[in-house]
């Protein structure tokens, strides 16, 4: 089957890790990488892998416009705000890994179908990718009254963008728990831990759910974990789902301990928080790619919006 050609915009750590993962894809084929730093390690790597490269950012990328259909945005939120209309005009589908959130939030396995035909989709946050699918799996069994997550990541894996706007993480992730996970109310906390050697990303997910069968809850959650592992092999539960009765209330408390170890492609293994973003991006790209091959990701839809 013909592979769908894609481009990576941004030649930093995230863009380079994406490149490694895209090279393994059977559905997507990376053809161009664009950066702004001529001697960046990412561009050098891309050249070695036989991609076309440009150090002229979005302008350089669009010169090669006939070479790709999908663009993975791995720059910054402010850059993507500028790039988004240009990509749309060029009729390229943007998969946005930044917090810009120009397009709707998507989480693979949960809500991509609802956004077929969108010219631009956003990947929420690392905490969202690591927790929303499990909230959704809980929600499939019983209504979730409240969902709360604590994401703990290695200090070394939090870049200056995350640090200077840490509220972005908590607000975006909480919205993801509600709008995509289906919780009536969501709350997210992030903790940076500087321990050496760096810790793996961990997430604790609490849910208050309506009265339901614990076995059904466990089964739904464990099935979702298995499906996530297909695209994030280092995603796992550290313990069996803990399901308790809330005394005096017809509610169950569900506690999940999740650990995410990165694949160690370009990013270090402890940076599971970054790995789950690049993995989810590739997964979303592949789903879009399948639609493009089948002609069901309406280019018409794109044109109609221009």
């Amino acid at each position: 089957m013909e592979q769908i050609p894609v481009a990576v915009l941004g030649s930093g750590n995230i863009g380079t890790d994406l490149l490694y993962k895209l090279k393994r894809s059977k559905i997507l084929k990376p053809t161009v990488m664009a950066g702004i730093i001529p001697d960046s390690a990412g561009l050098a790597r891309a050249r070695q892998e036989g991609l076309m490269t440009t150090d002229e950012g979005i302008d350089g990328l669009l010169h090669h416009g006939e070479q790709f259909e999908i663009v993975f945005e791995a720059t910054t939120a402010s850059a993507h705000v500028r790039h988004a209309p240009l990509l749309k005009e060029a009729q390229k589908i943007a998969i946005d890994l930044t917090p810009a959130a120009v397009g709707p939030y998507v989480v693979p396995l949960v809500n991509l179908q609802a956004h077929v035909g969108e010219p631009n989709v956003n990947l929420v946050s690392c905490g969202g990718q690591a927790t929303v699918p499990l909230v959704y799996a809980t929600r499939e069994v019983a209504p979730v009254e409240y969902s709360e997550i604590v994401a703990t990541i290695a200090s070394k894996s939090a870049g200056p963008g995350t640090r200077q706007n840490i509220d972005e993480f908590t607000a975006t992730t909480a919205r993801g728990l509600e709008r995509i996970g289906g919780a009536s109310r969501g709350k997210a906390v992030i903790v940076l831990n500087p321990a050496e050697p760096p810790i793996l990303m961990r997430n604790t997910i609490y849910g208050i759910v309506e009265e339901s069968d614990p076995e059904e809850l466990r089964k739904s959650i464990e099935e979702m974990v298995a499906r996530i592992q297909e695209y994030v092999p280092g995603f796992r539960l550290r313990a069996k789902p803990l399901i308790e009765d809330l005394p005096g209330r017809q509610r169950k408390k569900v506690t999940l301990y999740v650990e995410v170890e990165g694949a160690g492609d370009y990013l270090p293994r402890y940076a599971g928080n970054l790995d789950i973003m690049t993995s989810a991006a590739v997964k979303v790209g592949e789903e879009i790619g399948k639609h493009l091959r089948a002609g069901t990701w309406e280019k018409d839809g794109l044109e109609a919006r221009l």
Binding site: D167, T170, K187, L192
Partner: protein, 348 residues
């Protein structure tokens, strides 16, 4: 007669003390304590969930009454002093801070782990832009070298902080280690320097005095020592000691003793004391707020809370990671069960 050096006291009974009450303060209690503290002459009266604004969660414990109601209750009775709040970036947000400001908060304590000051930039800048006084806290200061504390304090200074506190969240510092940290901070920054102590090794008052000798002028304390772990520097004791040493706090010693004895002590669910678990925290350097969560988790899974705390220390957990306590207790219980069930054990 020489001028007495003024020391600025922030009383955190209604914030750090919230940990010891599992965040069950009522607005009525808050109003009573805040009025008493204000009348005793406390300069800054802090009211927040123990883990700061937005801390009312499953992880850290839900507040009995919303923090906005509690802030409102305090704000309505404070006449002389300033209402203060705590915010931990990653838990609370700028929105929470704005709401607190609207309810009359004038001082913002913004706390980060000792190596992570840069996550506080947006909150400190916002607080300053709203005209608040900003006190930066470098939590678990025992985990950072004096050089690290100097470096991180400078960052907070660059974000607009008015004061930076060496914050002994684990009650693990001793006079020599307080001295070198406060001195390094004092030498590195032009703004105020202070100290926040916990009493897990019975050093809170002594450490506060050492900090003052090194130039600290801001001290956090809690009436009756009501706070996380073995509690904080007790305000009434600190006031007495500072007075004897010739410092001025503006606080009436008799009145603050009365607040401690007549208002705060009756609210306390159990005496704040140095028990085996909280002593272990000071000894192993574990965040004091973990105490009740560790006790509860240990009880639920039938393990020793000290083993839980030692494992927390081994994993180098930082403030905010209360979520790992149940998981640790659960895995310790499982390990114990495996040992019980192992053939060698049965033969023996």
């Amino acid at each position: 007669m020489s001028e007495r050096i003024p020391i600025h006291i922030l009383d955190s009974t209604l914030r750090d003390g919230s940990h010891a009450l599992s965040h069950q303060f009522t607005a009525e209690q808050v109003a009573r304590v805040a009025r008493g503290l204000d009348q005793a002459g406390i300069e800054m009266i802090e009211v927040s969930h123990g883990d700061g604004l937005g801390g009312s969660t499953m992880t850290y414990g839900f507040s009995k009454q919303s923090e906005l109601e509690l802030l409102d209750a305090a704000s309505s009775v404070i006449e002389r002093g300033k209402l203060a709040v705590l915010l931990l970036p990653g838990i609370g947000t700028k929105d929470d801070l704005k709401k607190a400001r609207d309810l009359g908060a004038k001082v913002a304590q913004i706390a980060t782990h000792v190596t992570e000051a840069d996550v506080a930039q947006q909150h400190m800048e916002l607080a300053k832009s709203m005209g608040m006084e900003v006190i930066g806290m470098l939590m678990l200061s025992h985990m950072g070298s004096p050089e690290k504390i100097a470096e991180q304090g400078k960052l907070m200074e660059s974000y607009g902080a008015d004061v930076v506190l060496v914050t002994d969240s684990a009650g693990a510092l001793l006079p020599p280690t307080v001295r070198e940290r406060v001195r390094a901070l004092r030498d590195a920054i032009q703004i105020g320097v202070g100290f926040h102590g916990h009493n897990n090794l019975s050093m809170a008052v002594a450490n506060s005095i050492i900090a003052i000798e090194e130039g600290a002028r801001w001290l956090d304390a809690c009436t009756c020592g009501l706070g996380a772990g073995s509690g904080n520097t007790p305000t009434e004791v600190l006031v007495a000691v500072l007075d004897k040493l010739g410092y001025s706090t503006g606080i009436d010693l008799w009145k603050i003793m009365d607040v401690a004895e007549d208002i705060v002590r009756p609210i306390m669910q159990k005496p704040v004391r140095i028990g085996k678990a909280s002593l272990t925290m000071g000894y192993a350097g574990v965040y004091s707020s973990f105490l009740l969560h560790a006790d509860k988790a240990a009880q639920q899974f039938g393990v020793d809370p000290r083993d839980v705390l030692v494992e927390v220390g081994r994993r180098r957990a930082v403030g905010g990671q209360e979520d790992i306590l149940v998981e640790i207790a659960m895995s310790l219980a499982q390990k114990n069960a495996e040992v019980e069930a192992s053939p060698s054990r049965r033969l023996a």
